[in-house]
């Protein structure tokens, strides 16, 4: 479908509410700089979310920095009477599952813990840079990419839950136990920060309009 055939909310002074979906048509602009609020649910209405890219960049940079300790530091330690204390990183845990013969599970954990966070950071970089350049390159594919990272984002929390459950379950006192380690904190923070980054990105920025130049918000 060609872009010329599409009428947009910003051209027609129509606002779709992000919370309740009500479509409002602006008949008379507000006095002064009073914010536009959805008449049904009072959510602020915008054609482009304010400071969307600044927020996305801030969360994305923070997530990228924490990604390093999340993968280098151990996420948990196990101890038992025979071997003493052993530290486990995320990659190490996947390797243990693979050695144990659980190929399927090793693959699932690899996808959730390594592939998804990397994919999210990479995809958000592509989305933020192209949006900043007001690019019209592969818009439908970029919209698809945005939907994908929104859909898979929270699956990275898998390893956090696994460690919490192991810490709670494997408690045999002197015989053996599991403790959480600082890498888990960094990893949990990466998951939350990438979710916040994806949530801050306004997908409408994939579809720039002429008048956006004068009206950056």
């Amino acid at each position: 479908m060609s872009d010329a055939a599409v009428h947009t909310g910003s051209q027609m002074k129509l606002y779709g509410c992000p919370t309740c979906g009500r479509v409002s048509q602006l008949l008379r602009p507000p006095a002064g700089d009073a914010p536009l609020l959805c008449p049904r649910c009072a959510t602020p209405l915008h054609h482009r979310r304010p400071r969307s890219l600044q927020r996305t960049w801030a969360y994305l940079i923070a997530a990228s920095i924490l990604y390093i300790p999340a993968n280098l530091l151990p996420i948990m330690s196990t101890s038992n009477v025979f071997e003493g204390e052993t530290l486990h990183t995320i990659l190490g845990g996947i390797e243990e599952l693979r050695h144990g013969g659980d190929w399927m599970l090793a693959l699932i954990v690899f996808i959730a813990s390594i592939a998804v966070p990397l994919l999210k950071i990479g995809a958000l970089l592509v989305l933020a840079i192209t949006a900043q350049r007001r690019s019209r390159w592969k818009q439908v594919e970029r919209a698809q990419l945005y939907r994908m990272i929104e859909a898979v984002g929270h699956w990275s929390m898998l390893d956090v839950f696994v460690v919490v459950l192991l810490v709670g379950t494997i408690r045999f006192g002197a015989l053996g136990g599991v403790m959480p380690e600082p890498g888990l904190l960094a990893f949990g923070a990466v998951v939350v920060l990438t979710m916040l980054a994806a949530g801050s990105f306004d997908p409408r920025l994939i579809w720039p309009e002429e008048e956006d130049k004068d009206r950056p918000s």
Binding site: M1, T8, L14, L27, A42, G93, H154, V192, I206
Partner: protein, 229 residues
């Protein structure tokens, strides 16, 4: 006064927001604006089981729902019961040469807190336990009132909260996490999946079904009731 229900005033969601802005915003129920690319479409009736996508960016705009409101309410009741069971029954039981160890989700969260990781403990408590629970209670509250023809008190703030807990609740990820944890335990010692794991599995299915129904019906229903009052 002839009002048969004077004790339950219908909450009118239209009034407060309008008072706060001088702008004139007319409702256009005949249109849909794509939330992902701002393209404007005409609203169409969707047959059961069909979906509508944006012509420009392919975003999901709406569904013709298969599951009715009464069924969703039943799902929410079941979900609440199963969350209670899932959090009070052990998720996995370990037997290490006669020494038995088992944990429920709240115990695992507490152990993580005690082990010096309060942030991780709070994050897990929120995403795996509190948000799915709040999600279920809110759905019960909202659906329970709407099927009786009442717009519940605090409808709009409850809907805002529902959007938040839907986004940040992760019962399905937690479910997969319990399976991975059981397999990893089983490589060390004899591990038996507990009632908690099965209860959480059912919660995951129910919450996914309720989430798929979206919130549009709730807004529409409240508008119809509010309009009649």
């Amino acid at each position: 006064m002839t009002d048969p229900l004077p004790s339950t005033p219908a909450y009118a969601p239209h009034a407060p927001a309008v008072a706060r802005t001088s702008a004139a915003l007319a409702a256009r129920p005949d249109l849909v604006v794509c939330h992902e690319c701002d393209a404007v479409h005409e609203r169409i009736e969707l047959a059961r089981g069909t979906i509508a996508r944006c012509q420009r960016c392919n975003a999901l705009l709406g569904r013709g729902h298969v599951i009715g409101t009464e069924k969703l309410l039943a799902f929410a009741v079941a979900s609440l019961l199963l969350i209670l069971i899932g959090n009070s029954a052990p998720i996995v039981t370990l037997d290490f040469q006669g020494v038995v160890s088992q944990a429920t989700l709240p115990q695992a969260i507490e152990a993580t807190w005690a082990a010096g990781q309060p942030f991780v403990a709070v994050l897990t408590a929120a995403t795996a336990l509190v948000f799915p629970l709040v999600f279920t209670i809110l759905r019960l509250y909202l659906l329970g009132s709407l099927v009786r023809g009442i717009v519940p008190r605090g409808f709009v703030p409850a809907m805002h909260m529902l959007v938040f807990v839907t986004r940040w609740g992760m019962p399905e990820v937690f479910m997969l996490g319990t399976l991975v944890a059981v397999v990893r335990c089983a490589s060390l010692t004899s591990a038996t999946p507990g009632i908690g794991l099965f209860a959480y599995g059912a919660v995951t299915l129910l919450i996914t079904a309720i989430t798929a129904a979206g919130t549009h019906t709730l807004w529409k229903r409240s508008g119809e009731i509010g309009g009649m009052a």
